[in-house]
């Protein structure tokens, strides 16, 4: 054997060693130098984050009655690879969950990493299944939103979706407060996503959401809802909205939009959905969830004369004793605008004109102010802006541009036509005009409590501007009390109470449809308003005058809630006053 063979064998060996050493160097670089980078990437790949739902905060009414809470429900699922006795699993689950055996069997026998058998299982059932200690059966607890009062104040409260997120109403407005912080469980999984049993898991607990207390009063809301339902049924109306608020601070005591819907089952429509397309069903649901008090605008009609009167009195273009004559119409430019009383109210002073809700007189007051000053007051009273209520989807005012406003437009605006505002805007504005002249922000949210029941935050609303002098405000209270005492609002009169208010009947667009909106806005006591109510009846059949059908609703509600609110009758107050003297 030649020595060069040996030499060359050694060369091959040394060459191999060299290459192997180079590879070891490469390994060292990968495993030490790049270890952090690749290790992190690998970990990201292996770790699965499972979130733990946070318990959603409750919603309470002003007295602490629970309006929205949570119920523990369970999700039952099976892990195929862990099942040892499939027949027993199928039998127990079929019995406990009250399901068809084939359905359960199909899911139990399906070769998948995890198969959901049923969600929203009551906690008791979940506990019973868990006690059976079936291998491969998982019972996960979950929270589900629950509304103890069903459909009470549904359009205001709103509901949540499957992921604990608010969808409409207060639930979405205060989502940040209510939601809490979800926790998470980090687990290691294999490539198919199956959790590794022996790999430790790290847990980060969920933080429950805060409780929201609102100004609504369940009793008042319930009564207002009943009253609204009654008149809706009696007048075959499309819908009735009732708003009750404290005129001094804007706290809403009741917000009713009948028909309401069931918050515990918000997706089911009242009507038959067989013939409806997917889009139609969704539209119908959105319609059902609408809060007419804030989502929709309407022509306010004669209730808006309160605004015209306030502006006229404040500006001094009219006084209570001013004499007017109503021939049943008023000519503005080339138009002849009729009064609702065709024969005319004849001779009357301003208070009587208010009692009569006389259109020509209010047109006259509007014209005396002129476009510029009228628009100025419209703006000053806050009517151009949104009220800022703490509910989603507030509609804005639809109003003429001042440069496009002629005498005719001014005249129609003066008695509440040719522009649109929301019911909440009307209520908030009138409340501000009669409460001494301070603009208020209507609202529901009052305070926030943490999960342990400790007060966390008192919600605050912007300090309102003085939009009307106290003197004029007081005059307005007097005028509106006269309307109820002996005018068109007399149906709202309650023996022993001083009540102010104004009726309205407006025809919806298009006028040819002959559909009406009847409304009444009232407050009590007239000399020191503590509650203000607005009732809006959409498309009533038969008699549609606001004074005839809407005023009694507010009277009915006031009659019941004034004593409840601790507002005593006038004679009693007088007697008390006398006894003190």
């Amino acid at each position: 054997m030649h020595t060069f063979h040996k030499r060359k064998i050694i060369v091959v060996f040394l060459g191999s060693i060299l290459l192997l050493l180079a590879l070891i160097g490469r390994l060292g670089w990968l495993m030490l130098g790049r270890s952090e980078y690749y290790g992190k990437k690998a970990q990201d790949l292996h770790e699965r984050e499972r979130s733990i739902k946070a318990e959603r905060g409750e919603i309470w009414d002003r007295n602490g009655t629970v309006l929205a809470a949570n119920r523990t429900v369970c999700t039952v699922s099976v892990i195929h690879s862990q099942i040892t006795d499939p027949e027993r699993v199928i039998r127990v689950l079929t019995e406990e969950l009250d399901m068809e055996e084939e359905k359960v069997r199909a899911r139990v026998e399906k070769r998948s990493s995890i198969e959901r058998i049923r969600t929203n299982v009551p906690k008791e059932t979940g506990d019973r299944i868990r006690q059976q200690e079936l291998a491969g059966v998982k019972v996960d607890e979950d929270y589900r939103r629950y509304y103890p009062f069903g459909n009470l104040a549904s359009t205001a409260i709103g509901f949540t979706g499957g992921d604990n997120q608010g969808i409409v109403g207060l639930e979405v407005q205060y989502d940040d407060v209510l939601q809490g912080t979800p926790g998470k469980i980090l687990t290691m999984t294999d490539a198919r996503g199956v959790e590794l049993p022996d790999a430790g898991e790290s847990r980060q607990e969920a933080e429950a959401g805060d409780t929201l207390q609102i100004s609504l009063d369940v009793n008042i809301q319930t009564y207002a809802t009943q009253a609204a339902l009654q008149v809706m049924e009696k007048k075959q109306a499309d819908g009735v909205s009732v708003l009750l608020m404290q005129p001094d601070n804007g706290e809403i005591l009741a917000m009713v939009n009948v028909p309401e819907y069931d918050l515990n089952d918000p997706f089911t429509l009242e009507t038959d959905t067989v013939q409806m397309s997917e889009q139609e069903i969704q539209d119908a649901r959105n319609q059902m969830w609408r809060n007419d008090c804030i989502n929709d605008t309407y022509e306010p009609g004669s209730t808006f004369k309160i605004i015209t009167a306030s502006a006229g009195l404040e500006e001094g273009v009219v006084s209570l004793q001013d004499k007017f004559f109503c021939p049943g119409y008023k000519i503005v430019d080339d138009r002849r605008i009729r009064c609702h009383k065709v024969s005319g109210h004849g001779s009357e002073n301003f208070v009587q004109a208010a009692q009569n809700s006389c259109n020509p007189v209010f047109i006259e007051v509007g014209l005396r102010l002129g476009v510029e000053r009228y628009y100025h007051y419209f703006q000053q009273f806050g009517l151009l802006e949104k009220t800022g209520i703490d509910l989603p989807g507030e509609a804005g005012t639809i109003m003429h541009h001042p440069e496009n406003m002629g005498q005719v437009e001014l005249a129609t605006v003066a008695f509440g036509q040719s522009f649109q505002i929301t019911p909440i805007q009307l209520a908030a504005t009138v409340a501000s005009l009669i409460n001494g002249g301070k603009r208020i922000t209507p609202h529901l949210g009052v305070s926030i409590w943490d999960a342990e029941g400790v007060l966390k935050e008192q919600l605050e609303y912007p300090e309102g501007e003085q939009i009307l002098s106290e003197e004029t405000s007081s005059t307005m209270r007097y005028v509106l009390e006269q309307v109820v005492d002996g005018g068109s609002g007399k149906n709202a009169y309650i023996e022993g109470y001083r009540i102010g208010g104004k009726t309205a009947t407006s025809e919806t667009l298009p006028r040819s449809a002959n559909q009406y909106i009847s409304s009444f806005i009232g407050f009590a006591p007239a000399d020191d308003p503590q509650v203000l109510g607005l009732c809006v009846i959409h498309n009533p059949q038969g008699v549609y005058y606001g004074g005839t059908i809407a005023a009694p609703v507010i009277r009915d509600i006031f009659q019941n809630i004034l004593p409840y609110l601790g507002i005593e009758k006038e004679e009693i107050r007088k007697k008390d006053g006398a006894s003190i003297q």
């Binding site: 063979h5 040996k6 064998i9 192997l20 030490l32 990437k41």
Partner: protein
């Protein structure tokens, strides 16, 4: 010494294989030991073969070299016609419940065949023609195997070149061969789009969808660090590294046993190569020397290429890690080759 090293390698190989394959076995065959059992069967068979061969006179064995070579060509040809396809490659011949990979047989056959041819040509001319002739001898089998198993063809070609190198005194012409080889590889790569694609993946596997296997291997290696996650505790083998029991098994070793474990394993291979070198240089005759050198070349090429692929040092090509990766045929013939090396070693001891 060689026997002990082989034993240690084979046993640690089986243990590692079990760790790497238990998940895939459980998922696919509901049996964590599925791969281990098959491999164990091949290993036992292999050790028997090894023992038998080590008792034989390798000179007598060499008389069947041409027959073995022709047989391996026949089998490689047969697999093209009637082979079974697994994982997209037609590489297996089935005989009853057993399946057999002819390309694995081709490697020892070529070593035996070339060693015999070269050793018989006592006066090897130094002309380039005898060298080319030597490579030409193996071209038929390289072509046959290469049609569906490029990696094995490269290994066979590599063994042939190294044997030619060892058999001839010069160096310069091998540098030329090396350069032409690189030229050929470049030409070969540019011929097919998918081969060029491999190059692109190699440069930046993370940016490429098909770099998945490479990336998962790198994740496994990187997760290992100095000491590894602990034996059996790797996660990447749980379906992340595709076919963790095959070509990529070294990445699992790195993940579980760390840099230390990887270096230990490579050291075992180094000892093995060293032993082959010692046997080759101490062989009594040229046949024994070439046989041992061929086996050394085989193991060296496979280990280096495998580790290079797993560490993404070269573009991806499917090469198994000797004694460790799953593969019955491979295991059987590797052990048979060890038997040959042992026979050479035994012969030289007896003569001395």
């Amino acid at each position: 010494m060689l026997l002990i090293t082989v034993l240690v390698l084979e046993i640690s190989g089986l243990v590692i294989l079990y760790s790497a394959s238990a998940y895939n076995g459980r998922v696919r065959f509901s049996d964590a030991g599925y791969y281990l059992k098959k491999q164990l069967f091949a290993a036992v068979l292999g050790f028997v073969c090894m023992w038998l061969i080590s008792r034989m006179d390798y000179h007598k064995m060499a008389q069947f070299a041409i027959l073995a070579y022709i047989l391996s060509m026949a089998l490689s040809g047969a697999v093209l016609l009637v082979g079974d396809t697994y994982n997209g490659s037609r590489r297996w011949l089935s005989v009853g419940p057993l399946s057999f990979q002819p390309s694995e047989f081709a490697k020892p056959a070529v070593i035996l065949f070339l060693s015999r041819i070269i050793s018989r040509k006592e006066k090897m001319g130094n002309s380039i023609f005898s060298l080319i002739w030597c490579v030409c001898l193996v071209l038929p089998i390289v072509a046959l195997v290469g049609t569906n198993n490029l990696s094995t063809a490269i290994i066979i070609l590599g063994i042939a070149v190294i044997l030619a190198f060892v058999s001839r005194p010069g160096y310069l012409q091998f540098i030329w061969i090396g350069l032409t080889g690189i030229g050929f590889i470049a030409l070969f790569l540019s011929m097919e789009q998918y081969r060029l694609e491999r190059l692109v993946i190699w440069k930046n596997p993370e940016a490429h969808e098909k770099g998945f296997q490479t990336i998962q291997g790198l994740y496994a290696i990187g997760s290992g660090g100095l000491f590894g996650t602990g034996f059996g505790k790797g996660i990447q083998k749980l379906g992340f590294v595709p076919e963790a029991q095959n070509d990529m098994i070294f990445s699992i070793i790195c993940e579980e046993n760390g840099l230390i474990g990887a270096i230990l394993l490579l050291t075992l291979f180094l000892i093995l190569l060293w032993r082959f070198m010692v046997i080759a240089t101490h062989a009594r005759d040229r046949l024994g020397a070439f046989l041992a050198a061929g086996i050394m070349a085989h193991i060296a090429i496979q280990v280096i290429l495998n580790v290079a692929v797993v560490t993404n040092s070269i573009p991806n090509t499917g090469i198994t890690l000797p004694f460790i990766s799953y593969g019955g045929t491979s295991s059987l013939f590797l052990l048979a080759e060890m038997g040959v090396a042992l026979a050479v070693s035994r012969w030289q001891n007896r003569q001395a």
